[in-house]
Subunit: 627 residues, 2 copies
C-alpha cells in the first residue's frame, strides 16, 4: 500500500468499513453540501437526506439489536465523524434526532419507551427534539425552570413553562419537524421537588399541527447550520400520561410516590447527564473532521499557489514560506493528535457501554470527553479561520468549502457544554481524583500527601538552582541541557510536568483559600484561570500520550515528526510558564522555537500526503480553490 494508504488505514482504524460506507454515500450525486438554498428549501433537503440515511438503517447502529441496531457505539461514532465531511446541517440534524433525542430515550427511558419509540426514531418516522437548554439556562442545567408536576388524580404530569426565560431555546428539530420532545424539567411529586428529570412530550400531531398548549417559535436566521430548524418551545400546562416519564433513574408510582435507585438528587442528576456523554464525544469527533476538511483545502491550495519568489526566478509555492508552514503545519499535527486521542476515548466509551465499569472509570471517561470536546472544538474554530486566511480571497467564496465549515462548526464551542465550563468540569474531576487518592491513603496518607506538597514546593525552589546552571549555559549560545527536545520521553516529561505542576498549584491555592476562611465561591473565582489551565494541560498530555502510541505503532517517520511537532508547539505556546517555573532555561526555550521551525521544514514535503491520508471524500473537496 502507499504511504498515504497506510496512514489512512491507521487513522480509519477498526471501523474503516463503516467510514468508507459513509464516504461513499457522501460521494453520491445529490449528497454534496448545499451552499446556496433558501432556508426553508435547505431545511427540507436536510430532512429528506436524514430520511434517506434512516432508510439505509445506519442511523440505528448504536441502538440495541431488537430495535434495528447493532449496539455498536464505536461504529455509530465513526459514522457520525465521517458524516461531518459532508453537509454540517445534515450532521447536526442527525445528531439531534438519532443521538440526542434517541439517545435520551435509550439511556433515560426503560423498556416500554424503547419498544414504543426507538424503531420509529431510528427510521426518522418520529422526528424529535432534545429540549434541555432554556433561554435563561444553558450551562447551569440544574437550575432549569420548566416544571413537571404530578397529578395523582389523573395520573398525569403537567408540563409548564413558568416564565419567558424558561422557554426551551435553540432546540434543533423544533421549528419544522419535531413531533415529540424529551423535555427536561423540575419534577414535582407530592408537593416535593425531585430535581431535573426528562419526559416525553408530544409537540405536533401526525399531520404536523402544533398541539394545544404547546407554543413553538422559529429561532430565525443563524450564523450557519441554516438547514437545521432550531426553535423555541413553551408549554402551557400540557398534560402527559405517567409513563411519559423517562424513568430509568427515577420512578413515580400512581399515587405519586417517588423512588430512585440513586438517593442523592445531585448525584442522580449527574448520572443521568453522564449517560448522554455520546453527544459530547460526537461533537468533539466532528470538530476533528472539520479541521481535516479545512486543512485538506488549505494545504492543497498552498501546494498549487505561487506568490513572490527570488528575483528573476519562478514564484515560490505558498507552503515554502515559513509563515505559511507555521499557519498550517502545527494545526495539522494537532489534528492528528486529536484524532488519536479521540479514537482512544471512543474505544473506552465503547467498552463502558459494553461492560460494567467502575465509577472511577466512568468519571475518567466523562473528564476526557469534556476536555477533548473543548480542545477539539476550539482547535477547529482556530484552524478553519487560519485556513480561510491562508487561501486569501478564494477562501472567502462558498465554492472553496471553507465558509460552510467555519459557520457550521463555530457553535461547537458552545454545543454540548460551553468549553470554558467544560474545562472547569475537567479540573473538578481531576481535583476529585486528587482528593480520592488522599481518601484512600488516610489517615497516615494525609500526612505524606501534605508532605508531598511541601516537597513539591521545595523541589520547585531547588529547580531554580538547576536553572542557574542553565542560564550560565546561555553564555554559550546554542548549548542545550537535558535530553534532546525530539526525544519522546522528554516531550512527555515536559507536558506531564506542566500538568502536574498546574494541578498541584491549583489544589494548593484552593485549599489555602478555604483554610483562610474565604467563601468557597470566591476562592474558586480567584483561581478560575489557573484551574482552567490545569484542565487544558491535562488534555494536552492525554493527546500526546495517544499520539505517541500511534507514532510508535506506525512505521512512517512523518508521524513521528508530526508527534514531535505537536508536543513542541504546545511547549512553545506555554514557554512562558515553563521558564517561570524553572523547567526550561531561556536557551532551551529558544531551542524549542528553532526545533518547531525545523520540524515544519522537514514535514513540508510530506504535507500533501498527510492531508491525503484524511480521506476527505471527493465531493467535499469542493470546486478546488483556484490556484
Amino acid at each position: 500500500m502507499s504511504r498515504a494508504g497506510d496512514l489512512r488505514a491507521l487513522l480509519d482504524g477498526p471501523d474503516a468499513g463503516i467510514r468508507d460506507m459513509v464516504r461513499d454515500w457522501l460521494s453520491e450525486p445529490g449528497h454534496a453540501p448545499v451552499a446556496d438554498l433558501p432556508r426553508e428549501a435547505y431545511r427540507a433537503q436536510v430532512t429528506a437526506w436524514a430520511e434517506e440515511l434512516a432508510m439505509d438503517g445506519g442511523t440505528a447502529m448504536g441502538y440495541p439489536g431488537e430495535f434495528g441496531g447493532l449496539g455498536d457505539v464505536r461504529g455509530s461514532i465513526a459514522a457520525f465523524e465521517t458524516l461531518a465531511f459532508g453537509d454540517l446541517s445534515l450532521l447536526v440534524k442527525c445528531g439531534v434526532q438519532f443521538g440526542l433525542f434517541g439517545g435520551a430515550v435509550l439511556h433515560l427511558g426503560t423498556m416500554r419507551h424503547h419498544e414504543r419509540h426507538l424503531t420509529a426514531i431510528a427510521r426518522f418516522e418520529l422526528p424529535g427534539c432534545f429540549a434541555m437548554t432554556e433561554t435563561g439556562h444553558g450551562s447551569n442545567v440544574q437550575a432549569l425552570a420548566t416544571t413537571a408536576t404530578y397529578d395523582p388524580g389523573t395520573e398525569e404530569f403537567v408540563v409548564h413553562t413558568p416564565a419567558p426565560d424558561a422557554r426551551k431555546d435553540y432546540i434543533g428539530n423544533a421549528a419544522r419537524d419535531g413531533r415529540m420532545a424529551v423535555v427536561f424539567a423540575q419534577l414535582v411529586t407530592g408537593g416535593e421537588a425531585r430535581g431535573v428529570h426528562a419526559l416525553l412530550v408530544p409537540l405536533r400531531d401526525p399531520d404536523g399541527k402544533v398541539r394545544p398548549g404547546v407554543e413553538i417559535e422559529d429561532c430565525g436566521p443563524k450564523l450557519g447550520l441554516e438547514g437545521v430548524d432550531n426553535g423555541r418551545i413553551a408549554f402551557d400546562h400540557v398534560r402527559v400520561p405517567r409513563d411519559a416519564l423517562l424513568d430509568r433513574y427515577g420512578q413515580v408510582h400512581p399515587d405519586g410516590t417517588y423512588e430512585s435507585p440513586i438517593e442523592n438528587p445531585a448525584k442522580r442528576f449527574f448520572v443521568m447527564l453522564g449517560t448522554l456523554i455520546q453527544g459530547r464525544v460526537s461533537v468533539g469527533g466532528a470538530s476533528i473532521t472539520a479541521s481535516k476538511s479545512a486543512l485538506d483545502i488549505a494545504v492543497r491550495h498552498a501546494l498549487e499557489r505561487r506568490q513572490f519568489g527570488p528575483p528573476g526566478g519562478a514564484e515560490a509555492l505558498l507552503l515554502d514560506y515559513r509563515t505559511h508552514q507555521r499557519r498550517l503545519l502545527p494545526a495539522l499535527a494537532t489534528t492528528y493528535g486529536l484524532h488519536f486521542a479521540q479514537a482512544r476515548l471512543v474505544d473506552r466509551l465503547h467498552e463502558a457501554f459494553c461492560l460494567e465499569v467502575t465509577e472511577r472509570r466512568r468519571r475518567e471517561l466523562e473528564t476526557l470527553a469534556a476536555g477533548l470536546k473543548a480542545v477539539a472544538s476550539w482547535h477547529a474554530t482556530a484552524t478553519i479561520q487560519a485556513c480561510r486566511e491562508a487561501c486569501g480571497g478564494a477562501g472567502y467564496l462558498q465554492a472553496s468549502g471553507l465558509p460552510a465549515l467555519m459557520t457550521g462548526t463555530e457553535v461547537f464551542t458552545t454545543f454540548e457544554g460551553d468549553n470554558t465550563v467544560l474545562l472547569q468540569l475537567v479540573a473538578k474531576n481531576l481535583l476529585t481524583d486528587h482528593r480520592d487518592q488522599l481518601g484512600e491513603l488516610d489517615p497516615l496518607g494525609l500526612a505524606s500527601f501534605v508532605a508531598g506538597q511541601v516537597i513539591g514546593t521545595i523541589a520547585e525552589r531547588t529547580a531554580v538552582r538547576k536553572v542557574l546552571g542553565g542560564l550560565a549555559a546561555d553564555l554559550l549560545p546554542g548549548r542545550d541541557d537535558g535530553l534532546p527536545l525530539r526525544d519522546r520521553g522528554e516531550q512527555l516529561g515536559l507536558l506531564r510536568w506542566r500538568q502536574e505542576h498546574l494541578l498541584q498549584g491549583a489544589a494548593r491555592r484552593l485549599k489555602g483559600g478555604m483554610d483562610s476562611g474565604r467563601a468557597p465561591f470566591d476562592v474558586l473565582l480567584d483561581c478560575q484561570d489557573h484551574v482552567a489551565e490545569a484542565a487544558r494541560a491535562w488534555v494536552d498530555l492525554e493527546i500526546l500520550e495517544a499520539f505517541a502510541d500511534a507514532a510508535t505503532a506506525s512505521a512512517d517517520p512523518a508521524l513521528d515528526r508530526l508527534c514531535s511537532l505537536y508536543a513542541l508547539s504546545r511547549v512553545e505556546a506555554e514557554r512562558g510558564y515553563y521558564q517561570e517555573h524553572g523547567r526550561l532555561t531561556p536557551a532551551r526555550s529558544k531551542a524549542v522555537i528553532r526545533t518547531v521551525n525545523a520540524l515544519c521544514a522537514e514535514l513540508r514535503p510530506d504535507a500533501g500526503l498527510l492531508v491525503e491520508a484524511f480521506g476527505v471524500p471527493a465531493m467535499t473537496a469542493a470546486p478546488a480553490v483556484p490556484a
Copy 2:
C-alpha cells in the same frame, strides 16, 4: 457631562459631528442592517442605500471642493469608520465605489479624469470597480498578467486577459452594478514593458448591458458581505482611447513615447500604490468599529446574564467570572488602544494629503497603515469570535448581531493586503530605516553601528547576571524587581525593549545570512517568522504610545487602568520571549499575570461605561441578546 459622555467625546475626537451624522443616518428606519434577504434583493438594497448616501453628498467628503467634496480626508475616514456600525455590505460597497474606484481616479488620474468622472462617481451615477487582484495574483501585484498594449495607429490601448489566471477576481461592484473599472495592467508601449499602470475601462453600457469583449462572471455566494456583487472580469482585446490611462505617474504620447516623473519602474509602482493608502487605513478603522460593536453586545450580555453561583445564593453575573473577564476585558483594552493609534494615523494621513511631506514621513505613514490594518483586523476576527462564544447559543442567532459582524469582517485580514504580507512590508520599512541611519553615519558611523550591535549582544548576556539575581528572588515569592508594573514608563520600556531587540536581532540574522553567501530569498525565508514578530512588536508599541497619551489627556482613571491592561496583556502574551532574553525574571513574569487579573477585576465595574462610550447607534445594538 457623564463619564461615558466624556469618554465618548475623547473617542469621537475632532470629527464628532460627522460621526454623529452617520450615527443618525444609521438610526433612521430602514437603514438597519438586513440579516435575511435573498442575495439579489440584498444587493439591490445595498445599491439603493449607497445611492441615498451619495445624494446626501457625504460620500464626496474626501474629494476636492470642485467635485462636490471638502478635501477632508480625516472627516471622510471618520464617516467610513462610523458607517461600519451599520450594514457591512453597505460599508464595503461604499469603500469600493467612493474609496477604491474614486480614490484611484483621484490619485492616479489627472485633471481631465477628475473633471470627467469624479462628480458622477461621488453621486454613484457612475458605479465602478477597482480591478487589481487577479485569480493568480493577489499579494504580488507587480506580477499581474493583464496587459494594456498601446497601438499608435489608432491611439488606443488594447486591454487583454492573456490566461484564465489573469482574470480580475473578487472585484466588488462587478457582478451587478459596475459601469467602468480602473484596471491595473502591464503597460506595453513601443514593444517595451513599462510596469503596472491603471486605465479606465468601460464595462457596461448605460442600460447595464455588458460591453463587447468584456466577460463578467458572478463570484457567487460568499462567507459574508452578500450584499456586495463581487465578480470576475476578463477582457478580450478591449480597446480604450489613449486618455483612458490614469497618467499622473506615467504618460504615453500619441506616438507611443513613454514618460514618467519617476525613473525607476519599481519605485514608480510603489509610489502609485502608496497613494491608495486610504483604503488600508479605512479597513483598519472599520475593523476597530466592528470590535466595538461586538464588545458592546457581549459586555451588555455579560452584565445581564447570570449562571451558576454560590450555593444557596443568587446566580452570579457572567462578568463576575474571571474567565469571562479574561475573554472580554483585554480585548476591550486593545480596542481602545487601537482606536487611539488609528486616530493618530488618520491625523498624520490628513496632514500628508494637505502638506508636502518628506519621503521618510510617507514611508512612516505607509508602515503604520500596514501594521495597524493587520493588527486591527486580526483583533476584530479574534474579538468577534470570543464575543460570540461569550454569548453562547444566543450569540449564534443573527438577531444578536454577532454573525453578521463575524462573516462580514473576517475577510478584512485579506482585504487591502494579506496581513502576513503586510507585516513583512512593515518589517522591510523598519529595516530600511535602520539601514538609512547607517547610511547617514557612514563611514565612521558603520563602525559604531556594528560596535553597537556587539554591545547589544554583550548587554544581553550580562542581562543574564541580572536574571541570576532575579531568580534568587524567586525563592522569596512575590518580590518584584524594577519599577512597578503599573508604571507607564515601565510598560513603555518593556514594549520598546522588545521591539528594538527583535528588530536588531532580525537585522543581525539577515546580515549574517547574506554575509555567509546564501541566496537572499533563502535567508529571508529563514528569518520570516522573526521578521514578522519584529513588525508586530513595533505595532504594539505604536498602539501603547498613542494609548498612553490619550490616557494622560483624560481625567478618567478607568482609561489609565485600561491602558495598563493593554500593555500588560501584551507583555503577558510575550512573556516567554521576555524571559528568554533576560528582560523579565520568572517572579516578575508571574507578577504580570497577577496584575492582569487584578486590572480585570478593577475594571469590571466600569465595563458597561466603557462600551457605552463607543456610542454604538441604537439600531445595530440589535434585538438584545436574550438575557
